[in-house]
Subunit: 397 residues, 2 copies
């Protein structure tokens, strides 16, 4: 718990460029690109590009007949960039050099030196702006598919936040049946987004609502409420006034614990006690969880860190009450985030082995779960799968 959030955020930011890798490194004889390209599922209505094929290649087509240069950049750091070339019809076209990882990727265009979104795609809030998104069909996409099952709702709420002098927004997933079972009360998971994202991410990019609908329809998880709010109270973009260096967890901790939790307990039919309340988050949201939840163990009984750090036995021993009060510590990563099993920590600290940490907790009698998403990195496919894995473990007793 002795990490600072500023250091953590710096790590997250420097870690994010590794996303959307074209992987694995091209073998000596690269397989031929199969010409079964189809429009990405995240395209705007009726748009034919970008396209994806069965191998995970992405193909772009941008109309800008007078442009000098057009590039598609996947991930924050520019790896996986695809330089487009001008076709005879005046459109700029290109195919990624290699297959992309399964799942969701942010990207943007560079057109004659300017940064724009692909007019073909829907936009998703990431890296502090609304960006283009592309979906590489995953072999396990069924678990977040929109199916003919009973659906919960995603409700936008606006709650007064006296501590920040603002009306703040959150999205609340209520499970199917919530409206019918007027006497039933439900546990609540507070689920945070990553750096540069906002309260829209878990629904839009993560399909958290569909994951829950499908799990509940299959009888695999207890129905519960999920609350997703914005995890920032100041402007944390690098170089901005009040940026990373001055980031302080306290203001958001106040919003979460003193304002949002009471609002949700006051306006939804919750089971309003510690053993029916979880906090989890991805990336920066995981670090926020680790900074907030262990200080409020009479509020939160479950802790989930998704690509957002690990919990060691030292952490537990340094935190009063952790051993007795935390009912589950869930930690997950994408396999591509681990090097020799070790995950990146705050700068200047050695990489830790999250699996070894989890096993040490279990061995010491502390309920702990560890999950690695195969062949994915610091991206939403890791976090969709992590939610799928974590949800059934919550609120079991």
């Amino acid at each position: 718990m002795r990490i600072t959030l500023a250091a953590v955020l710096a790590t997250m930011i420097s870690a994010q460029p590794g996303t959307a890798q074209t992987a694995p490194p091209a073998p000596p004889a690269a397989p031929a690109v199969i010409e079964d390209f189809r429009p990405s599922s995240l395209n705007q209505p009726g748009q034919q590009y970008p396209q994806v094929n069965s191998q995970g290649y992405a193909r772009f087509r941008i109309v800008a007949p007078e442009a000098k240069a057009v590039k598609a950049t996947l991930g924050l750091g520019g790896r996986g960039g695809t330089v487009l070339t001008k076709a005879p019809d005046g459109a700029w076209v290109g195919t990624s050099e290699g297959p992309l990882d399964e799942g969701f990727h942010y990207y943007h265009l560079t057109v004659d030196g300017g940064t724009f979104n692909d007019p073909g795609t829907l936009n998703f809030y990431g890296s502090t702006r609304w960006e283009s998104g592309i979906e590489i069909p995953a072999h396990d996409a069924d678990f977040y598919a929109l199916k003919d099952v009973p659906h919960g709702r995603v409700e936008q709420i606006l709650f007064a936040s006296p501590s920040t002098g603002s009306q703040r927004r959150a999205f609340v997933y209520t499970p199917p049946g919530y409206d019918k079972n007027a006497r039933e009360r439900y546990p609540v998971l507070y689920l945070q987004h990553g750096w540069g994202e906002d309260e829209t991410a878990w629904s839009n990019q993560g399909h958290a609502n569909l994951i829950m609908d499908n799990l509940i329809a299959a009888g695999k998880t207890r129905p519960f409420i999920i609350v997703m709010t914005y995890g920032m109270t100041n402007d944390v973009r690098p170089g901005s006034p009040g940026g990373l260096a001055s980031f302080d967890i306290k203001p958001f901790e106040t919003v979460m614990v003193n304002e949002l939790v009471p609002y949700v307990d006051g306006h939804f039919r919750t089971l309003a006690d510690q053993r029916h309340r979880a906090m989890a988050g991805l990336s920066m949201g995981g670090f926020e969880t680790k900074l907030i939840a262990p200080k409020h163990l009479d509020t939160f009984g479950y802790i989930g860190l998704l690509s957002g750090g690990t919990v060691s036995l030292d952490d537990v021993n340094a935190t009063p009450g952790y051993r007795d009060k935390v009912r589950l510590t869930f930690v997950s990563f994408g396999s591509r985030e681990l090097e020799g099993g070790r995950a990146m920590g705050p700068p200047g600290t050695p990489r830790q082995d999250p699996r070894a940490n989890a096993e040490a907790l279990s061995k010491a009698g502390i309920k702990s779960a560890f999950y690695v998403s195969p062949n994915t990195g610091h991206e939403f496919q890791t976090w969709r799968r992590s939610l799928l894995t974590m949800a059934p473990m919550l609120f079991r007793d």
Copy 2:
């Protein structure tokens, strides 16, 4: 009622290019542009451009140092376009030729022949794509401001639609107190978007939820539920397969009357009868209302057409039950949509005078209301004000 929807849609599409006019025509000595530009309220977090000033001018700044030509186009038809010029720092800048109407305007960029969104702004679904938006501060902006009052929710629901073989999305506004007053039941307004928009428009562009929150906080309207869904069941873009020429109201009528209304009555605490159910819509949504509601007068007791046609005494006399069953016919336009008091009708038909029509209804003992939004056109400021005006008139008895 004898109009065809295809003809109506064609009218709407040809009418839409008149939006976002720079108005009024420049007087002989144009006033100096006042240099009090501030970021538009619809900018992405932290973005300084586009900006607006107190006179209603818009100023754009686009970074694309290698581009040959950059233009900002307001409205579908290109009127109000602003050609940007390259500043010494490599950014493209420009100010609209004149002040724009108060309220919300769609726009997009043309960069070297390609159509892109302004990376500075949020995007809004209009003209069948997600477009940039800019907000010219209105003198009456207070009625849709986010204030410290009790807030209702905007809930995303997914409902099964056997007739279209799909899971369809709607947004449902529930008023403040809906969660607390577990025994209270509420009237419902079904509120449709315009051509090229979708079920997100009334919340995102229209601020329907904030308009209701503020009206309810001031005691000016009865709290009621608003349901907003997508008013298309096929691909109606010009030139597309199954486009305008083949558009048929029947499939959406089935979704609305046979699927959505029963779903809402089954899953929300509604007053599930004719006198507590209204249908209204803007532009094409108004024409859809006029095509659907009068055929289902045991379902809908209130009818609202916002820039979406008028109801004449002939219409009433040709519609069995209208005179006895419709509790209010609300019609509105923006002042700039009327020429000599007359609104454009379907092609080949003379312009009608909606005020005269409304007065003829009232004279014949049919409850009718007519509203004109001052100095606005076929745009969302007209429809925000129309909802503000219409809501207190609904469900009064």
